[in-house]
């Protein structure tokens, strides 16, 4: 059943390397697919920028990937998903476009129906209340608190994912919400930025074992697979997929920092610089 159409790559973009945590889950679930990943490292981070700037950047990244003949677009950045998902779906139609906020909300509601959710996210994602709206749409009994945690982005980028500093920063953010009694704090902690999964162990250590810690990566991969299947765009199970990595700045830094997010060694030669 595989034809030329199905060999086309899945396009993914993020402000930088955080979206590689989503790419990792996609490649695990869809090992035969080809992927092209674009990190807009020249303008990262998106999380502290205004909605109008983020929308402009997202349009440019999507247009670039569209020119590479992708069969589906994943916005692997919570901030860009919050700002630009609807517009990109409209503009790129009939190309399917998947964001990470709704899959993240679905994971949280699945883990804790009717629960209290604490969303750790960037300032822009929090200001737009994308998670609150997505969760309440799925589960009217849920309660949601959204917390901007900018410093966790740089912490992940610096690679200080465990240890005294990481724990002090995570504790500073979470302490007001994590009381001793589990029944008064959040039931789930949502990693509402694709940088945060690599901080999971430290967040787990601070939050304790009784709370769910959920991210978008796995449920985004499930959503992408379902969409490709229903559109007849899944590639057959022959051969392993290719991966192309693009960045708008700093191939060396992208490779050094990105390896931890992708869970694979990268060299600067693996990364191709592009201009948007």
């Amino acid at each position: 059943m595989t034809d030329e159409q199905n060999l086309r790559p899945i396009g993914i973009f993020d402000s930088g390397v955080g979206g590689l945590t989503v790419l990792k889950a996609l490649r695990e679930r869809l090992p035969h697919e080809n992927f092209v990943y674009l990190g807009d490292t020249a303008r990262l981070p998106y999380g502290t920028k205004s909605a109008s700037s983020i929308l402009r950047y997202a349009r440019q990244a999507a247009r670039h990937l569209q020119q590479r003949d992708i069969k589906l677009l994943v916005i692997a950045c919570n901030t860009a998903s919050s700002v630009a998902l609807e517009e990109l779906q409209n503009v790129l139609r009939p190309l399917p476009v998947v964001g990470v906020v709704r899959p993240g909300a679905r994971a949280a509601v699945g883990a804790c129906p009717g629960g209290r959710h604490l969303v750790l996210a960037t300032e822009a994602t929090v200001n737009l209340h994308a998670y609150r709206d997505a969760i309440i749409a799925l589960d009217a009994k849920a309660t949601v608190h959204e917390l901007p945690c900018e410093l966790l982005v740089s912490l992940a980028e610096e690679g200080w994912t465990t240890g005294i500093v990481a724990e002090a920063i995570v504790r500073e953010y979470l302490q007001p919400y994590i009381s001793n009694a589990v029944d008064s704090g959040p039931n789930s902690i949502i990693l509402g930025c694709t940088h945060f999964p690599i901080l999971r162990d430290t967040i787990r250590a601070v939050a304790g074992d009784a709370r769910s810690i959920v991210d978008s990566a796995g449920t985004t991969a499930t959503a992408v697979e379902a969409l490709l299947r229903s559109a007849g765009l899944l590639r057959g199970e022959q051969g392993s997929g290719r991966l192309e990595l693009l960045a708008t700045d700093g191939a060396r830094r992208f490779a050094r920092v990105g390896g931890a997010f992708l869970g694979a060694d990268l060299s600067a030669d693996d990364v191709c610089l592009v201009d948007l």
Copy 2:
């Protein structure tokens, strides 16, 4: 002696709000001058970007300020000074252009002649060895170690300038260099990023009282005054100077975060958005 020429503003640019620490020193030293400050918040931080991107951004910022008829340009960003000072001096001649690296080096050499200097800076500034070269040119007996401290930028932006987290991060960076015996560690610690002066108290607490902590702000102001005087461009001592604040994104965030750096309350209405 004051004429129309001398009423023209001094232009200052930075990647964001860090340069406001330099503007503060300039306004204290030159209270009668007019200033126009441009923060390139749409593309901050510069410190993790490549030299070619930083150079492009610096050119655009300088060109924008030049169109506002400035009489002198201050590059109030160590990263941009390291990358772009020489090129901007050539391109903008006869407009005088002042960076912050050489004034910072002068302050350090003045505080500790023949000393051991530890430079805290961004990755880009460290990669270019701008401080090492500037210090050795002034003092051949000095030794210099340059340390990239990206997380201090976000820490300052988050406003967590004192307390457990700030101290843990500063200690993580400095510990390998700050032994118990002062005679084996650095004599001076150079704040080689304009974000870092607001972390001075915490750096002092970790580094101890026996080491000098120097930044560029005061010596940059001295250099600017000397240049204006020798060019006959100083404004006379009548009236207080005006300040115009420009940013490329996020006036609200600029005002909220920038207040701490400028040492004055700001509102979003004080900040005008511009496109470069």
